[in-house]
Assembly symmetry: C2
Homo-oligomer: 200 residues x 2
């Protein structure tokens, strides 16, 4: 979708304060800067989880892209979906525990939306990747032990897959990196198919 | 972004009542059905034109995709942008004339967002294509003559490029089909790169 206005973005900007996303981009061997967006995330979800995550990823990307129109800005949002229920970040530990109790012993979906905006190249694209996660049967002792190891308050669904995984996760279908917050493989393909090179 | 849940969409659905989009898909040689979405378009534009068109395309696609999760649903939205001003569909002929007066003799951008949603394949993608259009200098006689030939009320920016073009358009940069409402070439590439075949 790039046109010929400018030949290449000046660089890659991650519009997210998430240390997990930053770590994943680093693991991809990319050179990037971090510029967290200041937008308030929408967590109403009244239009469904796909619209919710896409909207949030796009709002974050646009917020930063307006300040850096010469760069490729990456916005992302991740949410946990059990049946028709969207689990965003919990407000407190009580809500966090009730989320894990709801997820206990069941499969749920993890959606990560990525928005790639490069205004000067008139490049605006977004997509969603889905993974599925099965939890072990959890009880309150296990949940308390998990919260000793992992802070659930900054994570959609009150869990992360990168620490304490053995305590709560039974199995994963699809990209584990997507559950962490960025679908690394698809992102790599997107950059390659559009001829973008952000290698460090 | 497709995964292995199902191998191919059952068909292509155009989530739009626009006869121009339908004509463009037909010209592409695609087999599709039309199922207009019932969602109210957002035309506030407070987050900028790119967010506006992407949101609208996604809301239309999701509205129809929820009823047809086995199919690939195409939602689209087109808007006209002059500087920082978004021109949606005019409310009446007075507003239509004032839009054309504002566009007279100047370049403006036309953004079309496309959302491709196939829920059973967990495929959710959207992108924007931009074209630029230069208007001839217009006066009220020319505008009145144009409105004799073209109904401006169902068109963003109060004009269409497919009829009466000689009266108002000086030149176009980028895809003319995108100005009509669908970036045909990019859409073809999207389908091909993902292995989707909707040929009639």
């Amino acid at each position: 979708m790039a046109n010929t206005l400018t030949t290449a973005p000046s660089g890659l900007i991650l519009a997210s304060a998430s240390p997990r996303r930053s770590e994943l981009l680093q693991r991809m061997g990319l050179s990037f800067t971090i510029c967290p967006s200041g937008v308030d995330e929408d967590d109403s979800g009244s239009k469904g989880p796909e619209i919710l995550v896409m909207n949030n990823a796009q709002l974050k990307a646009m917020d930063v892209a307006q300040q850096h129109p010469d760069a490729m800005v990456l916005g992302a949002d991740t949410t946990v979906v059990l049946g028709n229920t969207i689990f965003s970040k919990p407000q407190d530990l009580v809500e966090a525990a009730s989320m894990l109790t709801a997820l206990s012993g069941r499969w749920h979906r993890v959606l990560t939306a990525v928005a790639l905006f490069w205004p000067e190249g008139e490049f605006y694209e977004s997509f969603i990747c889905c993974s599925s996660v099965q939890f072990k049967p959890l009880n309150s002792q296990l949940i308390a032990a998990y919260f000793q190891r992992v802070n659930p308050l900054d994570k959609a669904g009150a869990y992360g897959i990168q620490a304490g995984r053995d305590l709560i996760i039974e199995s994963v279908k699809g990209s584990i990196e997507n559950v962490m917050g960025l679908p690394v493989q698809v992102l790599r393909e997107q950059f390659a198919s559009n001829g973008f090179d952000f290698d460090a």
